[in-house]
């Protein structure tokens, strides 16, 4: 068996080079997640404002259900720590790959229900774009780390008939968006400690 000479310094430089590449992607994604955190808060506030009471009431916090392709990111601290980097990234990729479909469904419904709420429509549009950006960032991180992102599973956002149900589903989607923005920020912050710039 022939042993190929390996030029260690190059290897070290090339692996440190890819390490740097991963680190900068993670940092970039992390910055986006911080911005999405703010954006998701504003979106939820604007959304609630436009739906009328009880949305926005202090005691109004219905349980947010999971949707196929968009589960709740809530995990216990232990369970979250036990996740591997790949699992964390993969869960984030799935969520942010599917969120745009949900957000644009909510936008369509709100354009009918709240035709004058242009700021809300704009924020929903922006959120969808940022999710698409985040998904591609996360995929590029995974690829740089030698991980293979799983193919996105097509999702069918709910399309209720009744207006209160539309409001409620939109509320759930905005909540899930906020939760995933917070979750991705934590995931990327953790990853950034492993891949410092």
């Amino acid at each position: 068996m022939e042993v190929l000479p390996v030029d260690l310094p190059n290897l070290r430089t090339s692996s440190s080079h890819s390490q740097q590449g991963i680190a900068s992607r993670i940092s970039q994604a992390h910055h986006l997640s911080v911005s999405m955190q703010r954006g998701s808060e504003q979106l939820l506030t604007e959304y609630v404002l436009r739906q009328g009471i009880p949305f926005g009431n202090a005691d109004f916090n219905p349980h947010v259900p999971d949707f196929p392709g968009l589960p709740s990111p809530a995990l216990s601290q232990e369970a979250w720590k036990d996740l591997s980097d790949a699992e964390r990234l993969q869960q984030d990729v799935m969520a942010f790959s599917n969120l745009p479909a949900f957000l644009s469904a909510v936008k369509r419904q709100q354009e009918m229900l709240n035709s004058l709420a242009s700021e809300l429509h704009r924020q929903l549009e922006t959120a969808g774009m940022q999710c698409r950006g985040m998904a591609s960032n996360l995929k590029s991180i995974m690829t740089a780390m030698g991980l293979m992102p799983e193919p996105a599973v097509p999702v069918e956002p709910p399309n209720p008939v009744e207006n209160f149900s539309k409001k409620l589903v939109g509320y759930y989607v905005c909540q899930l968006y906020r939760e995933w923005a917070n979750r991705s920020e934590e995931d990327l912050a953790l990853l950034a400690t492993k891949y410092p710039l």
Partner: protein
């Protein structure tokens, strides 16, 4: 009697215990042989005799068949009651969105050879325990000798889904020919319209209602078996809310007085139940369309008539399902055009094609939304409603030190009318206006010669046009400025 033919008689016996008693019931006219029958019951049937007296004899026998009493009665028609046959509800249907229960019943009872007035009483019941919520009277005329199907509808104050509703009916026939006492029939059996309060779902009603400002609203909540009702809320109302009224084990209702305008996305009513479940519904509170205002129709080119109007008071109802839909009707041609422009513009506009050989147009703009409709009309002769477009493409031809020809374009075939055009000539001092009359043309081009100009002088020309009197309607806008310097004097 139920049918003016047979009389049902019943009687009581003085003896405390009437076990084993039997009776011999005989009836007949004064000089006719009686008709008798034996019976264990204390009731029997005989033929109605409308004229004269019927003699009735009742013999009572004990269980050993010993005669223990004998009674005779003299019956005239006046002593007999007429009790109509109990009507039967044959169909009970509901129109949930209109909240109406529709009853259909047939009257196949007494078929008499003449028309007869009838009064019906309809009772609506609901709740658990059941109670009457409406008792309505309805008069009708029953045609002689005809089995009749009658119908009647009732509008509920609460959504029909909230709880099961029952209907019952009875009748009173104004039987002039019968001299005995007339009474109400029995109540019909209950006809049932099931509600959604079966304990199998949690939901609120009505769903997505559109209501008028100032009206009273009703919301009910039905919940599942095993859940317990906590509260129903509506928007930011607390004072105007009635305390919830229980309708049944799994249904409660609240009443909202004098509803305010809702937000664009509709105000919500919501219902909380334990353990930790809730549901809701949205209501859109607004106005019916106001009478369209400032309806005005004009043409600029004899190709299209443009009608515009203002909506008047905003309806506060939006989106395709609730906003006001406008249709422009023209009654002479029978044609119509639907408005499909922007929602809630300051001015609505619709274009209507000019029709060959039609000068007079009778327009009606009709607006409708879920709360109602309104319209405005306008009769015009389009010759009197020409509003030319802005003159364009001003050009100077035949240029000389003191004279030019100014040409411009006006779109549209204005052949049918005479135009007047105002040429504003400005050379720095006070502008001078030249009013010229021109025949309307097909080929858009117009021109006028202007003389007495000063050589080598800067001029600014502007033009606007309109139909001449008596057809004047509106001036066009002023054209763009046309800058021109006359030639130097030779």
């Amino acid at each position: 009697t139920h049918d003016l033919q047979n009389v049902l008689c019943s009687w009581t016996t003085a003896s405390a215990t009437d076990l084993g008693l039997s009776y011999k019931f005989c009836y007949g006219l004064r000089y006719s042989s009686p008709v008798c029958e034996k019976t264990q019951d204390n009731r029997a049937q005989m033929t109605l005799n409308s004229f004269g007296t019927t003699f009735v004899g009742i013999e009572t026998f004990n269980s050993s068949a010993n005669l223990i009493s004998k009674n005779t009665f003299r019956l005239r028609e006046e002593n007999i009651s007429y009790v109509p046959i109990t009507p039967q509800i044959r169909n009970l249907t509901a129109n949930s969105s209109a909240r109406t229960l529709n009853l259909e019943w047939n009257y196949g009872g007494l078929l008499v050879p003449f028309d007869m007035d009838a009064t019906w009483q309809i009772r609506i019941l609901r709740k658990d325990p059941i109670e009457t919520v409406a008792l309505e009277t309805y008069d009708s005329k029953l045609p002689g000798n005809t089995a009749t199907i009658l119908s009647w509808s009732w509008t509920s104050d609460i959504p029909l889904e909230c709880t099961t509703h029952y209907a019952q009916i009875r009748c009173y026939l104004h039987l002039e020919v019968f001299s005995g006492t007339k009474t109400w029939s029995e109540w019909s059996p209950l006809a049932k319209m099931p509600g959604q309060d079966t304990g199998s779902l949690i939901k609120m009603f009505p769903v997505d209602e559109v209501a008028q400002v100032g009206t009273n609203l009703t919301f009910c909540c039905v919940w599942k078996r095993g859940q317990s009702f906590k509260k129903i809320g509506y928007s930011n109302y607390s004072a105007a809310l009635s305390p919830p009224v229980r309708l049944s084990n799994w249904s409660a209702v609240i009443y909202v007085q004098n509803a305010n305008k809702s937000i664009e996305a509709g105000d919500n009513a919501w219902c909380e139940v334990d353990p930790g479940d809730f549901t809701g519904t949205t209501t859109f509170v607004g106005y019916p369309p106001d009478t369209p205002q400032n309806l005005s129709c004009e043409t600029s080119d004899f190709k299209e008539i443009t009608c515009e109007w203002k909506a008047g008071r905003p309806t506060n109802l939006y989106s395709a399902e609730r906003r006001t839909n406008y249709t422009l009707f023209e009654s002479i041609s029978g044609k119509n055009v639907t408005y499909n422009g922007k929602e809630n513009p300051e001015y609505y506009r619709c274009n209507f094609l000019v029709l060959n050989n039609q000068r007079i147009y009778n327009f009606t703009i009709h607006g409708s939304n879920p709360l109602g409709q309104s319209e405005s009309s306008l009769l015009i002769n389009i010759n009197y409603r020409v509003h030319p477009q802005t003159p364009t493409a001003l050009t100077v031809i035949n240029n000389s030190p003191t004279h030019i020809t100014l040409a411009w374009q006006l779109s549209g075939n204005l052949m049918p009318i005479m135009l007047q055009c105002l040429v504003r000539i400005n050379s720095g001092g006070a502008p001078e206006d030249l009013n010229v009359q021109l025949n309307g043309t097909e080929n858009l081009t117009y021109s006028v010669s202007i003389d007495k100009l000063r050589p080598y002088t800067k001029y600014v020309f502007q033009v606007r046009c309109s139909a001449i009197e008596p057809f004047f309607w509106k001036w066009s806008r002023w054209s763009e400025n046309k800058h021109h310097t006359t030639l130097e004097a030779p």
